[in-house]
């Protein structure tokens, strides 16, 4: 996915969250957004995922520009997947029904075909035995892995993951990161916001450092983590990397 973001501006009330943000990536599989809290990572991701409309600016993936109207964005969202920090599973449905709901009601599969579609991934990620539980009966790590499968079941062009492990303890974090790593190996393209720098370094093709509503620096993971010319980025990594 070649991502081109030009002059992206977003504000809530009088607070400017994104300030004419520019970002260009190569034709990569995994882009990781890092940076300080409140710097605009999540806001950027929500716009990329077609959940929010920016005040100004444009986004294009592989030459295709994101629509600027709600019907267009709805159609766009049906071809991508989004995973949230708080999982946002539907608590009144079983894990299985969470997975099949978009397949049946958005993508027109028959209930039987939907079940067949999700059976293999449930097995592969060792979630089949939990498929009939309600979200409240699942651990945080299980919830997030179900949420990732829900986003993947529709075979999206790419995934957007917004701090998928921030609400999890270290053990569950490892379990979710392992899944994301496996998905990358399977060829899934994604944009990930995370504070897990070790994982970011391992999985990212490119890293963008977002702070103060702008991309402070971006480039291949090795460059960004080891010899970034931007002092702000170097200081940030120096503080949080062991």
């Amino acid at each position: 996915m070649e991502l081109v973001v030009k002059g992206l501006t977003q504000a809530y009330g009088k607070t400017t969250v994104l300030d004419r943000l520019d970002l260009v990536t190569g034709d990569i599989r995994a882009l990781v957004l890092v940076g300080p809290s409140g710097g605009g990572k999540t806001t950027l991701l929500r716009i990329l995922a077609g959940l929010d409309l920016p005040i100004e600016g444009s986004v294009s993936f592989a030459g295709k520009t994101l629509p600027r109207d709600e019907p267009g964005l709805l159609a766009y969202r049906r071809h991508v997947g989004t995973v949230f920090q708080a999982y946002n599973l539907f608590p009144h449905l079983s894990a299985l029904d969470n997975l099949t709901l978009p397949l049946v009601h958005v993508h027109g599969l028959s209930p039987a075909a939907a079940l067949e579609r999700v059976a293999e991934p449930l097995e592969r990620f060792k979630l089949a035995e939990h498929a009939h539980k309600r979200p409240s009966q699942l651990s945080g790590g299980q919830k997030q892995r179900i949420a990732i499968l829900r986003a993947l079941a529709t075979k999206p062009e790419r995934l957007f993951l917004d701090e998928p492990t921030s609400a999890l303890d270290p053990e569950m974090t490892a379990e979710v990161l392992e899944m994301i790593g496996e998905l990358k190996d399977l060829g899934t393209r994604f944009v990930l916001v995370t504070h897990e720098m070790g994982f970011a370094r391992r999985v990212a093709d490119e890293v963008a450092f977002v702070g103060g509503g702008k991309v402070v620096a971006s480039g291949p993971a090795s460059t960004m983590f080891e010899k970034c010319p931007e002092p702000r980025v170097r200081e940030f990594f120096a503080r949080i990397l062991p």
Partner: protein, 261 residues
């Protein structure tokens, strides 16, 4: 959930038994106090006169049940539409819903019934007092239902709407498949409580001469001059409807309680 997880089933049974015992005790004390009060008032009960009119009570009670049920269904619809209106992005729709709710909740049902029947229904040529009564009662209760539903809709976390949009549901699908099923579980106990109020409020239909339960008691009283003998069955008849509803409401609250996932 917490309730079913805490303690063994046997413990739960004991809990329930001691609660039933406590209820019985309170009812017994109240009954004793009432009996003493009646005895000291020197009131002499004469049930024969009232007994002759028992059919009137039965018909009135059934009318109350029918009017309440009709109003309940209508008021749930009115309440749902109004609740969505209260949350509308369109200022005019929001304003209309808000004015309706505040007007209804801020004025007595008595006035609404009189204006509804003698002015509005008259103007549009609606003569059936049962239809008018059910409509006014539904509009009255609908305003309260609207606030209950609005609260239920507002209690669904924003993340649920986000997730619904992210998987590509249309706004209508999101409401139908994600928001409403959760909101309805949240508001069911309050709706059952509102139904209890609705049943009691239906007694005011007597002012537009709907032959419901309360009017039956009033008429029997005027025929027999046995006031308490006419009105005590009235209280019992309403309790017969409202107590099971309260129990149902508590049961719904327990069985639909699940932790947000």
């Amino acid at each position: 959930m917490a309730r079913s997880q805490s303690g063994s089933p046997a413990h739960g049974n004991l809990d329930r038994m001691s609660r039933a015992l406590a209820h019985t005790l309170v009812v017994a004390i109240l009954a004793a106090l009432l009996a003493v009060a009646f005895w000291r008032s020197g009131y002499e009960f004469q049930w024969e006169g009232v007994w002759a009119y028992r059919q009137k009570f039965v018909t009135g009670w059934l009318t109350t049940v029918a009017m309440s049920l009709a109003s309940l269904v209508l008021s749930a619809l009115v309440g749902l539409v109004t609740a969505v209106g209260l949350r509308s992005r369109w200022t005019l729709v929001e304003a209309a819903a808000r004015v309706y709710v505040e007007l209804i909740r801020g004025t007595p049902l008595l006035v609404q019934l009189l204006i509804g029947f003698y002015v509005v229904a008259n103007a549009v040529g609606l003569e059936n007092r049962y239809v008018v009564g059910a409509l006014v009662l539904a509009l009255f209760s609908g305003a309260y239902m609207a606030e209950i539903f609005r609260g239920g809709l507002a209690a669904i976390p924003a993340g649920q709407r986000d997730a619904a949009r992210a998987i590509g549901l249309t706004p209508w699908q999101s409401l139908r498949l994600v928001i409403l099923p959760q909101a309805i579980r949240l508001v069911l106990p309050a709706v059952a409580g509102q139904l209890v109020s609705l049943i009691k409020d239906s007694s005011l239909l007597s002012v537009i001469a709907v032959s419901e339960f309360t009017l039956a008691a009033q008429e029997v009283n005027s025929f027999t001059y046995s006031t308490l003998e006419s009105y005590l069955p009235l209280a019992a008849g309403y309790l017969l409807l409202t107590l099971p509803l309260s129990a149902l409401s508590r049961w719904l609250e327990r069985s639909f309680a699940y932790e947000a996932g």
